[in-house]
Assembly symmetry: C2
Homo-oligomer: 507 residues x 2
């Protein structure tokens, strides 16, 4: 999360308009939950070396790391080079000669991190007799088409698209089924969360010969076309239901910040009150501070899990409720009282452990290229309009401005986003011709605003997880799991078995 | 046809191995039937000008010509240029506000020629209240991504792929539905023949949101994966059933040619007997002469229509039968007697009108780039293995040699074909997840060897046209049409109506 913020900040310094920056930051939040966690990732494994990672209360996770020679460009023949696509494989529970392959369609980050954070696949492998494969998305982790130069210029970035990534997956699946002894008859099920969930759904849509079905968890495949205010509406709703006056106090906080920060004394007070590592001095910094707060609320909504967890940050169970305990004020409260509450609320997110010395609103970069990668993707085909109006949501009004966004992209990369392409290539709302896809969404997750939340046919099934945040169903089972996610996982496995049976009878 | 032959010949002169050349020529035959007819095409129309073409016994064909700004590269963002994609439109019978759009997915040639040779669409427009649209395939006709430079180097050719063409169609359809008043609710049906039929099927597979169904006429979508000898087996079968000893005499002709051409006198006799414009002198020329004969037999099988027609050449009804009347010999016949029969047979194809002064086995180039375009496509993703063994077919044995083909492609274009890509991207035989596609094939058409000839599901329907040659069903109705094609067209229209009803009820 902080990386994003820094990114925005660096843009502010190079003169991008603030309004655009805010929108960009929102568009990038999708990445946030993934890439911020790259630091958690295991170190890359050498070919042939086993990796074993032990989690409390869970079976240890072990896999082998492989590299597959993948075409840099599947859709043109001038560039005929290849790169090493990383994938991780576990066949401990696999029933050879027919046991399925659960294939994680890697998203915008290090695949070992996804491998370790998709406990659901590890939990169900034995029951399904399944091989697990986690395939890394090109331009992330170790899978760099042009090595260290991959992000050095727009020419090299040209092959970073979802279509190329899907082709990578389809080609890899074909190769696995052809070359792995015993896998010829194995059906493949695609599984992914967030952008990885979109890829899982799209893999089934575009390459149904490769996968018999897909679990698309918290996959906002319609974020390109839903009204731009929907996302922040869900965020706001989470805070509204998590405590009296919670969202309305956050809504009022923006003006309070403006009033307090109007004076030098106020700026100093704000900086001290929030324990910022670097004091606020300029209006731009105040703007960045507000953007940082906004992203904090969004992140909290996404990771509002029912148990203590360490996904983006170490957090208590139901963190939004904990946050909202600090925001019960009635309307009579003073600006400073209100902001004192906000500061306590924010510290639930940034300092649950009590170890933080100060809060850093513009953290240093980690050098992780993934952030830039997703920014490039959102600047080309992954155009997700976002806006706020301060009425249906608790944020400051901010319209969606495609042209400004496009100009920013052009300045940054020399490319312009194509506003309609994602809808055309992936079908928009008209996807009923497809089959065997589960769209699971949590009703607390802001990304459900762009998700498929009602079933479209008998085999395009939507599952809403009551009390679920961002792809809760893909996490390891937990003793505090609500009944909804337990049932969801059971239903998902039932669909898997149904697809596998279907495939077995038609082969 | 002759253009192909010339092309092969020019290769022979630049030192390519003969075995590869023969195979290449075969792989190119698909193009043949299309591009050889470019000379028949109407002259390009200016925007806004109406074109009216009158056919005997048929309603006059009239359309308007438009040009759509299409992305040169749909799958990358570095190349952000656009080009003018040509499309032809007729809305004479269109029922606004809901009437369907029949959308011809143009193949490797001038779209006005397809427009004028797909009488079926014109015949059914009124019954369906349909708009007709014929969209040109990039790199053919007038739709040149880099203008006159489009074929000047491999860099410019890089965007000539079926995937880019499909994206063109999907984007154009979206634009038509968005911008044409009254078309918002119009369902679109894709129609195509030969490679255009493959594109129609693939458009439905890859972009089912764009088209509610597809008629893929004589579309060999499995030619990439069927045994390499199947194509020539069908050619041979056509000659076997069209006259006593017909195919066996053709099989024996190759050795007869070798024996006769072993002497200078024999070469001269052969040249005179066939009325060749240019006498045979070298073994390479004899090889080219045999390749030319082979292609002639293939073409005859493809256009073995039940009535006089002028598709590739002016021909009598059932031309293969007419050809075979010259090839009834028993085994006792002499080489020269046999070849005299062959010469008469060939002249049915090249001189039915009696106007030909001599037969030209290496005609001059017409400057038509389409030929080169298809050659490039077959050198990249459209890899259709072809072979002969002289046993199940009537040709000289010729194995499929992918490596030699690849080397030839590399020498010609600096690109190498990807042997497995078409199967991966278009699903190979595993396409049962798709829906609403009619695969029509004629049992006389060699391309049915790579076609879908048995239904795969209730909505993936195969129709075999008994006595049908290459996409007979797409031609204008004719008084000599066999019952089979009349029924086929009626069934096709019935499926169209079913898809339109389906779409209307789910909208």
């Amino acid at each position: 999360m902080q990386m994003i913020h820094r990114f925005i900040f660096s843009h502010a310094l190079t003169g991008f308009t603030l309004s655009v920056m805010r929108l960009t930051s929102t568009a990038l939040l999708f990445l946030l939950i993934i890439l911020s966690c790259n630091s958690l990732a295991l170190k890359p494994q050498l070919l042939g070396r086993d990796t074993v990672q032990t989690y409390p209360h869970h079976t240890s996770v072990s896999y082998k790391t492989f590299y597959f020679d993948q075409q840099i460009d599947h859709f043109g023949f001038l560039e005929n080079g290849t790169f090493k696509q990383r994938y991780l494989l576990n066949d401990q529970h696999w029933h050879k000669e027919g046991g399925p392959i659960l294939f994680y369609t890697g998203n915008e980050g290090d695949i070992s991190w996804f491998c370790n954070n998709t406990g659901f696949m590890w939990d169900v492998a034995e029951e399904l007799g399944a091989m697990l494969v986690f395939a890394e998305h090109r331009y992330y982790g170790e899978s760099m088409p042009f090595g260290k130069e991959s992000y050095s210029n727009t020419k090299y970035l040209n092959y970073l698209t979802s279509e190329q990534a899907l082709a990578d997956f389809a080609v890899l699946i074909k190769a696995l089924k052809t070359t792995l002894p015993g896998a010829q008859k194995s059906s493949v099920i695609a599984i992914g969360g967030s952008y990885g969930g979109m890829l899982a759904a799209w893999l089934r849509m575009k390459y149904p010969s490769a996968v018999v079905g897909a679990l698309a968890a918290s996959a906002p495949i319609w974020q390109f076309i839903v009204p731009c205010g929907e996302f922040y509406k869900v965020v706001t709703h989470d805070f509204t239901i998590s405590g009296t006056n919670c969202s309305s106090n956050i809504r009022r906080s923006w003006a309070a910040i403006d009033r307090v920060s109007a004076s030098g004394e106020g700026l100093q007070w704000l900086s001290q009150e929030f324990g910022l590592c670097s004091s606020l001095k300029t209006p731009d910094e105040v703007y960045g501070f507000k953007a940082w707060l906004q992203e904090t609320w969004v992140n909290l909504a996404m990771v509002d899990y029912p148990y203590e967890a360490n996904f983006l940050q170490p957090l208590p169970a139901w963190p939004v409720k904990v946050v909202c305990k600090n925001l019960h004020f009635d309307t009579g409260v003073s600006d400073k009282q209100l902001l004192n509450g906000i500061s306590h609320a924010v510290k639930v997110y940034y300092n649950y452990t009590g170890d933080a010395v100060c809060l850093n609103t513009s953290q240093t970069a980690t050098g992780n290229l993934g952030l830039l990668g997703w920014y490039y993707q959102s600047c080309t085909e992954m155009v997700m309009p976002m806006c706020t109006d301060g009425i249906i949501d608790m944020f400051e009004p901010q319209p969606w401005n495609f042209q400004a966004f496009s100009d920013e992209c052009y300045n940054q990369f020399g490319v312009r986003p194509r506003e309609d392409w994602a809808e055309i290539v992936y079908g928009g709302r008209n996807i009923s011709a497809h089959s065997n896809i589960i769209f699971s969404n949590g009703n607390l997750d802001p990304w459900m605003s762009g998700g498929v939340t009602t079933s479209l046919s008998e085999s395009l099934v939507a599952i809403m997880i009551d009390g679920g945040a961002h792809h809760l169903d893909l996490r390891y089972s937990n003793e505090f799991d609500p009944e909804s996610v337990i049932k969801t996982r059971a239903l998902e496995v039932r669909y898997f078995k149904q697809w596998l049976n279907q495939a077995a009878t038609t082969q």
